[in-house]
């Protein structure tokens, strides 16, 4: 059993987070709330999301798995205004999710979740961590997108940098420790990432909020932030590109 009522903007945040990586996803619900772990088809990035039940206006659930076509859900939620209340009911017999926005009822057939196993979350020890405002980061990303398709993240005890090097041009974005919410780096670390993935992840962060990143040397980056006004947690993992000798 699963039925819930939630503000449309909160559901949109969830959909934004998930749709950057996968088209179909398996949500798990239980009496505490909703969660999801998914990895993109190329296994380059992973999302681990949890939404506490008090992020919802109403929430009742027994343990269940619900397979959703994220694109369909996203299209339907576009019909709702931010403060609309969306009513969701899982129809187990008909294997559907019934979603009501205002006068519209959408009956969405679920996808089969057998064979959709939860990805293993790698345990990583990432020496550097830092917290910054996402809007600042997104500016740095915008400046980089025309220059190259990958971006280097560098953390040192004094500062955090994003560098993008193309064949001809270069973009550098840098923040000193004193201008950041926090920065802990015992030494300098650097990893290179596919820009499109990284940019899409940051674009899923609610504007104005803080993002925490954990970094290593030629290691995946872990990007953590809150959604649903602090009642939901998102962790992204992104695998690095390894630079060749040339």
């Amino acid at each position: 059993m699963f039925q819930a009522k939630a503000r449309a903007d909160i559901l949109k945040e969830v959909v934004n987070v998930v749709s950057t990586l996968v088209d179909e996803a398996k949500f798990s619900v239980n009496s505490d709330g909703l969660s999801l772990k998914a990895v993109d088809p190329a296994h380059i990035a992973m999302v681990d999301l949890s939404l506490a039940k008090d992020a919802f206006e109403e929430f009742k659930a027994d343990e269940a798995e619900i397979g959703l076509d994220i694109d369909k859900l996203s299209q339907f939620l576009k019909l709702a205004r931010a403060d609309d209340i969306v009513d969701i009911k899982h129809d187990e017999d008909k294997r559907r999710l019934n979603i009501v926005v205002g006068d519209i009822t959408r009956r969405m057939s679920l996808i089969d979740t057998t064979g959709m196993s939860d990805p293993k979350v790698p345990s990583l020890s990432l020496p550097a961590s830092l917290t910054v405002n996402v809007d600042d980061l997104v500016q740095g990303i915008r400046a980089s997108e025309t220059v190259s398709d990958h971006i280097a993240l560098l953390a040192s005890p004094e500062s955090f940098e994003m560098t993008c090097e193309g064949d001809m041009d270069q973009v550098n974005w840098k923040k000193a420790k004193k201008d950041m919410e926090s920065l802990e780096a015992p030494s300098s670390v650097r990893s290179l990432f596919p820009l499109e993935y990284f940019a899409n992840m940051l674009k899923a962060v609610p504007s104005g909020s803080s993002v925490t990143m954990h970094l290593g040397n030629d290691y995946p980056v872990r990007v953590e932030f809150k959604i649903a006004g602090g009642k939901g947690d998102v962790r992204y993992l992104l695998a690095p590109r390894i630079e060749s000798g040339d």
Binding site: A42, P122, A239, R241
Partner: protein, 339 residues
């Protein structure tokens, strides 16, 4: 060949492209034999160069490896070393079966029965040391690493998957599961439309089998799975007459282990079971290998394929161009490298 536990496992079908970014250890002998049996003309004659040497294995190795590289899949080929002593009987039987198939192929040709000829011919595949050497030089030119196992190739490749150096092993046989490979991919090198010896075409897609999934579904340990295989018969021992997957599963489920089956006294457990168990559970493997994917050596590939073995330069070039265009993306790691 190998143990047929297909009735006991559930495979998950995937698209070849879903495996992009993964490194996969391929059972080289298993794969080369596949090419040798499949890549044949309608009357069963294998592909040959202008000197009459068989080149089916090179054709398969080149086109299939290129297709994997193009998708960003990183193959490493693992060749068999010295077979365990217990495998000798299996090897003898296979040789005899091939000679028999060879005779029947010729007979079918004389009788003009092409369908039967192709079906028989596909069972005559032989891999000699020259063919292996040519395959190795082609892999070198393609920048694909290869490893010679101390003993069974499947044991070595399973060891590499267990260590996390590669994501999965690839073979048509299920033995890698018994050797403890967490992930096994079947149909990796034959995905696509395939013509069966019977003349029918089927659409083959790769499938992934996870050891953890097999064990939890059956609720047995890997040791018990190996015990079941021994009852059914492996490359290293004859099975017990009349015992197939279902009976072997029921026996081990009910009693626990081969020691218990023997103690009960109703089924004659193969004498050599402890040694066979050791082959699967403590196989001879090596940690000395390096996994580096180099750039494709265009000239080198042409030399092996076109100069030595009469493949068309245009066709080889066209395939290489696609691989080279893709090679920049290979610097992207997959998260699997850390799990």
């Amino acid at each position: 060949m190998g143990v047929d536990i297909s009735d006991l496992v559930e495979a998950r079908k995937v698209a070849l492209a879903d495996l992009s970014g993964r490194s996969i250890a391929i059972d080289a002998f298993n794969t080369l034999y596949q090419f040798l049996s499949m890549i044949r003309q309608p009357d069963g004659t294998p592909l040959m160069d202008r000197d009459g040497r068989v080149t089916s294995h090179l054709s398969g190795l080149f086109y299939r490896s290129a297709a994997l590289l193009e998708l960003g899949i990183k193959p490493v080929y693992v060749f068999d070393g010295k077979p365990p002593e217990l495998k000798r009987k299996t090897i003898e039987e296979r040789r005899a079966a091939k000679e028999e198939a060879e005779r029947e192929w010729k007979k079918a040709l004389v009788e003009g029965d092409l369908k039967r000829a192709l079906s028989k011919a596909s069972r005559t595949a032989k891999l000699d040391s020259d063919m292996i050497e040519e395959s190795l030089s082609l892999l070198d030119a393609l920048g694909i690493p290869w490893i010679r196992a101390p003993s069974e190739g499947e044991a070595q490749m399973s060891h590499m998957v267990r260590k996390g150096d590669v994501w999965a092993g690839a073979s048509q046989d299920f033995d890698a599961i018994l050797f403890g490979a967490p992930n096994l991919v079947r149909n990796l090198t034959l995905a696509g439309k395939r013509r069966l010896p019977s003349g029918k075409t089927v659409d083959v897609s790769p499938e992934v089998i996870e050891l953890a999934d097999v064990l939890s579904r059956l609720e047995v340990s890997r040791e018990q799975l190996v015990d079941m295989a021994i009852l059914m018969g492996t490359d290293f021992n004859d099975g017990v007459r009349g015992i197939g997957p279902k009976k072997a599963y029921a026996l081990i489920k009910r009693l626990g282990s081969l020691e218990d089956v023997r103690a009960e006294g109703k089924v004659l457990v193969p004498d050599e079971f402890e040694e066979v168990r050791r082959i699967f559970l403590e196989p001879e493997v090596t940690d000395v290998y390096s996994l580096e994917w180099d750039m494709v050596d265009h000239e080198g590939v042409r030399k092996v394929m076109c100069d030595k073995h009469s493949f068309s330069v245009d066709r080889i070039d066209a395939v290489l161009a696609k691989v080279l265009a893709k090679s920049d993306a290979s610097a992207q790691r997959s998260l699997d490298s850390w799990s």
